[in-house]
Symmetry: D2
Subunit: 338 residues, 4 copies
């Protein structure tokens, strides 16, 4: 970390800053030439906060020269992390993993119908929400444990590992016992207690990017999980909030190559939530594959008009099968497969 | 709710949509003239979701004519809600309530020093974080229960009700027992489980606006608390995330008159987190009062340079006293007081 | 257009609104049932503004049921527009057109060197800025007419039609005489006078999306050009401004299928300005092709470190050739070519 | 400017960077300790661009220690600039100047009626658009020269200097001859040619902030005007574009104290365009005054429902008078007046 001081900073102030940092265990190098003082801080600066150092009026700028995350950074861990779910591998140069299923598990018949079609189409995992995170207290809130039970039945019948979203710490036991990949939703990306608790499990975690989270904050949230010992983290881009109203959110595909550069973790894409319109989902899926995504998380419903949630963004079963077929061709061009 | 259908919608499709809505208990009025079909939906439409209705390709637009929130809306509840904390009233035409204190409780001496100054300056409540929500797992995470204990001691000594942020459901008992106003941070604005649990307490709640939350979503989150029976909700604007980098966030003061129009709930402002720079805090506090805010939540520290968190945005004790003095003059001009 | 009135609107107010609209030549249909009044406005409503109608306090909502743009809309013009530049076709199912070149023309040698490499790599047009739009008055402002002259020389030698950005109306003659495709930069997307003047030429126009422009505003700007008689408009997505700081802007690829749905105009993508980092350009180019883009506009420089502008986002010549090679494979998978 | 190099940068690369900078006339100081190289660049670095220096892969960060604007910065020019319009002073500790009038001049009678009321209410200048900047080519585009003529008549009769927006360079002569303050709209904030041309006049300029412009970019645009010799620049905040849909834009009042700190130029606020709802205009006006604004630009109409543009955000004449009355009280509290 480099602290740049203002030109006219009095020597007494410089000495104070240095003394304070040294008292906290850092080694400080004062580089000065022609009245510019730059303090290089050596040591474990991930504990330091730019905000606090900047509180000093003599500080012009605080610049990190290493990322504030460690375990999530590629610098620290150059090889790609490959997450493994019942033998299905995600990340590196592995096949692109397609995860399909409804926004919400609505009843047993619905999830069974969709699971069968999803498996037939070539998806490798089944997604389905049992505990739903709804903006309105009056909207359908999910089948909860009953939904998990149906997912487990679908899993047994169709041999599809299951992905479901957790919303509170007190459900961790249930999820660890029943679910193969635990999803953390965008609104929980900075639910620190949940991240810490998931870091103590040995389950793969899908960590969605928050609606207005920077890439750095997203990797810091991954760091919370990794720091507790769970290295099985899959990042998931699902669109960020912008001024554009024609799509539900703005899908930021540039984070795929960016994450690959900054981190070793796998990254998948959810084009359904990002766009909010099923008509845009196939194009965005192909684009995500071309950009290097390690997987896709797609909403599929056999009857979107009657879906209890998010019908507008769900693909019909037939369109989902076409998407996988077309996606496979793109994947092969870039040296991968589905 | 009004559903506008596309011009060329076949009668069969119109009949289907109507049948489906009626099967769900709604009364549907089909208004048609010159080929435009508008379906007026009567009944409790707060259960319906625009997203799902829009999944039908024949639907051109879905327009709500009543707000999706009920208990939070001024239409439902025309009189101002006045929240009462140990006799201190917030909302309506009551005095503007100033809440001051450090970002984090760091040790007993610190909170006692600040509490004394805060009380002397004329603040009516003391704030202090015990459980901290940090972006980095390596940053100071708060004193936790020890911090709550110090706050309680400060409260006893200086007669200041205390405000502190809760981050997980499992701490509710501790907060209900010790804290006077429970704060829900911006990152938890849509932590539904937490909102529901707080709705079952009888404690006043400060609900901060999420970093990228719309006013409608914010009121929907308040609705979660109100729907469970707790009517003591205070909204708190603390800045939204935009492209501007010169301030930490962008303080959106226009929500003050907007919330007053849409809702009966009190609204306060946190200019410290919003701006991230103590030099901007006084101006924004005066502006908030002029705009009609019912209170201010301000970070104060006796030694910002050594603060364990958010030093850059904390006011020194003397500046805090000046702010209250100047704020009082503005308050009196608009027919209120501090 | 549908005007939804508030429930309690007095009849006198309803009559006034209708009278006013009829006085302006519209036919108004008053649909009423159970106290809800909906006014359907028939006629050329693209002249009406939601803002003004909404000024009436009794108006609850104003909903358009047809797009405010006409000539740019696919409804009005179902077949794809194919823009033709010296026999090179852009749009529809035509080959994907790659346009490469430096941010700024710096001197004759530079543009000749790059033009040669760009042609060899398989690009179909050459781009280069002569009049530069710089944030700072102290930055390099372009070679102006001298730059245009060098571009023309490069065009003659390497048979590459040239694309360059215009910044003011008074240069239109020079551009029409020398340049094959005239580019309107993001900051000029709503420079109405410039759009109108370009609408009177017969040159193909590349219209970049503004940094914070919605898709609707973008199509309205295209409408300004089309309305004057020039139908040769190519839209160009170049990233929007968001809170993310790790990339220069956020590339919004979902606009590709969206524009294809809403409009008949071709759409190309500029991944260089969008990401601001050459390392992200290839991935985003492949993604854009997979998503259905009709072309790419890419910054290329033989020596990015010495570039007078935007070096950080320019590809080296070799990387540009690889990009085209890989892009061609993706293009063929989706039934097109480069 | 400080360039921080990556830890492992080879000496040869460091030498190259230094040589290149020195070849461009800069003095470079290489500060090194424990493998960290920091290059301090001395000289007129406002000519250098971070983007280009960052193109070098060995560069970790580029940090400016002085602002990229000179003439607009308070460092360069510590005293407040006071702009004078026919004896009316704007800036510093002068009275707060209220500018009122319609969005568009619609006809002679309209502007005369409004001008009279605006003068009576205590406003010091009259605003009115003659050349309008409309999103749609089908919306009312203004009366153009006829509108300017009516403004001039209103000025003569009511002794109110007039403010009107210019949209193209070729109208400068007309504006210099007739208008007292020339306004540059948000969409033209980076219309460089227009800024340069206005910099050559001796007229006061109101420079509105672009919809997605940072404070730094805004000051750089002011710099373009100042650099040509015109020092009479008034900045105007009019809301930025965010995800919030309940207001037209998000008014960013924190820029008032921020601009006062960074620059010596006066700053005024336009709450009408920012909020888009007349009901929010008074509160935001009082807030702007409390925050230290030097003036207000407010849309007023004698009959908003029939306004040809922006009726929804226009105050009625009576409300405008009340606003000034209440604003004056706030102004006096903070030691100013209206």
């Amino acid at each position: 970390m480099i602290i740049t001081l203002k030109k006219e900073t009095p020597q007494q102030e410089i000495d104070n800053i240095i003394a304070q940092l040294e008292a906290n265990g850092f080694k400080v190098v004062d580089m000065v030439k022609d009245d510019i003082h730059l303090l290089g801080i050596l040591g474990e600066t991930s504990f330091l906060e730019e905000q606090n150092i900047g509180a000093n009026n003599w500080v012009a700028a605080v610049t990190r020269i290493t990322a504030p995350y460690k375990k999530a950074s590629r610098e620290f861990h150059p090889q790609d992390t490959i997450v493994s779910v019942d033998g299905i591998k995600i990340g590196g140069k592995e096949k692109i993993v397609i995860i399909g299923g409804p926004c919400s598990v609505e009843n047993k018949e619905q999830i069974m119908t969709i699971a069968e079609a999803v498996a037939l189409a070539g998806a490798k995992m089944l997604r389905g929400g049992a505990y739903k995170y709804r903006t309105s207290p009056y909207a359908f809130q999910g089948l909860e444990s009953e939904g998990i039970t149906y997912l487990v039945e679908a899993k047994k019948k169709y041999k599809l590992p299951i992905v479901s979203e957790i919303t509170t710490v007190d459900k961790i036991e249930e999820f660890v016992a029943n679910v193969d990949v635990i999803q953390v939703g965008a609104r929980n990306m900075q639910n620190i207690e949940l991240l810490k608790a998931l870091g103590k499990t040995n389950k793969p975690i899908i960590l969605k990017r928050g609606l207005s989270s920077t890439v750095e904050e997203w990797l810091m949230s991954a760091e919370y999980i990794l720091a507790e010992g769970n290295s099985q983290v899959i990042l998931c881009e699902r669109g960020i909030r912008t001024f554009e109203k024609a799509t539900r959110n703005t899908l930021d595909l540039s984070v795929i190559p960016l994450i690959k550069k900054l981190s070793h973790l796998p990254i998948i894409v959810d084009p359904s939530h990002a766009t909010g319109h099923w008509e845009l989902v196939e194009s965005m899926s192909l684009a995500a594959i071309a950009a290097g995504a390690d997987g896709l998380l797609i909403e599929v419903h056999h009857n979107p008009l009657n879906a209890l949630s998010d019908g507008q963004q769900s693909l019909k079963l037939k369109n989902f099968a076409t998407l996988i077929e077309n996606g496979r061709k793109i994947a092969r061009v870039i040296g991968r497969d589905i």
